[in-house]
Symmetry: C2
Subunit: 283 residues, 2 copies
């Protein structure tokens, strides 16, 4: 049974990409079959695996933008990494043009409304069909992958909404700081709307503390605040400690398991893979 | 002579808000008259000064959303902080509804086109008028403030474009990591478009390295890479070191000068205030 997990937090720089890339690669290292979907126009998850985006374009490969503009199934656009991991890993690469996807869908909607003798009410139906395009595309991975992770951009717009509609679960990555905490109310309100209108089965898998400094009192205080707010059982036991190795890995476009094998940063993410599995099976 | 400085970098979590808040407050601490404009729907800059957004709404106060939707001059919307700093500080507060500003302007444009016997070409003029609304609003501060800082959301959409159109200078805040470096090409391409079409006088004031770890080789390597890429004279001499004090300040909604007076984190930002001034006067 395939589980689809979205990273959700509009705060910029809270570990969405690092978590999506490291969990997808972590599952693949453990022999599972995993996918990662890059829905961020910055394309950091695509870069994180060392994929040359200009090369992809030259080769006429499709990207996540084509899921929305061309209704492409994800299984047809995945890029594989043969023999890189014990298991399998597929990447659906991102594209800078994702930024204009909402506008382009909106104008195609306007054009459709102008052409037919359709009404204002049809606009709602067309809009909802656009919002479900990622979900339909990812259905092509169900039954072929154990897990699928969706990396999202730092805002609560169309792309985040489509990820939450397509997902079975979501993870909230947080770096310990006041700005990160303040955005959580707004995030949960958006999620409740998606659950009510589109995806009643969407569930919180857990809140993940990253960039964590075990020596700072602030970090343990924030950990306590989050446990009180969400309930201790919804905070991942594993915390990802601050380590320069994560930043180094992004410069060399390698996963943490390739850049710092046998060291604490990769050991923590392997422990997190186990905890994610326990939560998926236990729920 | 008032100088308007935008923070520009679509990478999430690279220090835009910390820099905007700390520089605006730093100038005010030095006895100058400064403003800060919160153009991010997350409203972190507004929170950073301890302003209660719900209170503002109850009091019927305007926000940056009204600059676009109601053409309000910034001087009429500013919130003051009497006797908090040696000089003066005004905040134009943000609003969560900023996210929908581009959509709302787009539909008002569609409605206007439908009403008049206007043509497709008029759409361009209307769109450009929307893009210049922030610039016109901030003109009301010229002559009354020494310096104005614009905090921006982590994307290259409408709000960032309007900030770059309104600004005289921009600062690129960067945290030392691969993901931050990869986005700089795209950022500079967007800036060149704004310079060509809307604001030929827009100039880079400098690239600021933040969250800097003096003990990590990666951080000094990235500093070297940036100096090669932009030229050493466009990299701020002052680097803002990593310090938990910055994160603590966000939890207590205090500026770094109030949270950690006489300590390194505030001393570094005061040094940066001096360097910004030298660059403004020297250029
Ligand atoms: N020098 C520093 N040392 C430690 N933490 C820092 C430093 N500068 C900023 N931070 C913290 O890093 C996080 C990101 O900074 P900030 O929120 O200012 O970035 P941003 O670019 O405004 O983010 P966004 O993209 O969400 O708008 C914040 O939690 C902030 O407190
Ligand atoms: N545990 C960690 N220790 C040190 N640095 C980390 C850690 N986790 C992530 N980072 C670094 O923090 C920065 C922000 O992380 P990341 O880019 O994954 O966040 P994000 O939420 O995806 O950002 P965006 O909002 O731009 O999409 C990156 O430079 C990353 O390398
Ligand atoms: Mg990211
Ligand atoms: Mg910010």
């Amino acid at each position: 049974d395939t589980r689809i997990i979205a990273l959700a937090n509009q705060k910029g720089g809270c570990g969405k990409t690092t978590t999506a890339v490291s969990l997808a690669a972590g599952f693949a290292c453990q022999g599972y079959s995993a996918s990662i979907i890059d829905l961020d126009p910055q394309c950091n998850a695509t870069d994180g695996f060392g994929v040359d985006r200009d090369e992809l374009t030259r080769a006429g490969r499709f990207t996540t933008a084509d899921i929305f503009l061309g209704k492409k199934p994800a299984s047809e656009i995945e890029v594989g990494f043969p023999n890189r991991f014990a298991g399998e890993l597929g990447l659906v690469p991102g594209h800078r043009g994702l930024t204009s996807v909402p506008h382009r869908l909106e104008s195609s909607l306007q054009a459709q409304l102008a052409n037919d003798d359709s009404s204002e009410l049809d606009a709602d139906d067309l809009k909802n069909e656009h919002r479900e395009r990622l979900k339909h595309s990812l259905n092509s991975l169900r039954g072929h992958r154990d897990v699928v992770f969706i990396d999202t951009p730092p805002d609560l717009g169309f792309l985040m909404t489509t990820a939450l509609i397509a997902a079975d679960y979501f993870i909230i990555p947080v770096f310990p700081s006041g700005y990160d905490l303040k955005g959580l109310e707004t995030l949960m309100r958006t999620i409740e709307k998606v659950q009510r209108r589109f995806n009643p089965n969407l569930r919180l898998l857990g809140v993940l503390l990253g960039n964590y400094d075990t020596t700072a009192k602030l970090d343990s205080d924030i950990h306590k605040m989050l446990s009180r707010k969400f309930g201790a059982e919804l905070i991942f036991d594993v915390k990802i400690s601050r380590s320069v190795k994560h930043r180094e890995a992004t410069v060399y476009s390698r996963t943490i398991f390739e850049h710092a094998p046998e060291q604490q940063p990769s050991a923590q993410f392997l422990a997190l893979v186990n905890e994610v599995q326990r939560r998926l099976n236990g729920i």
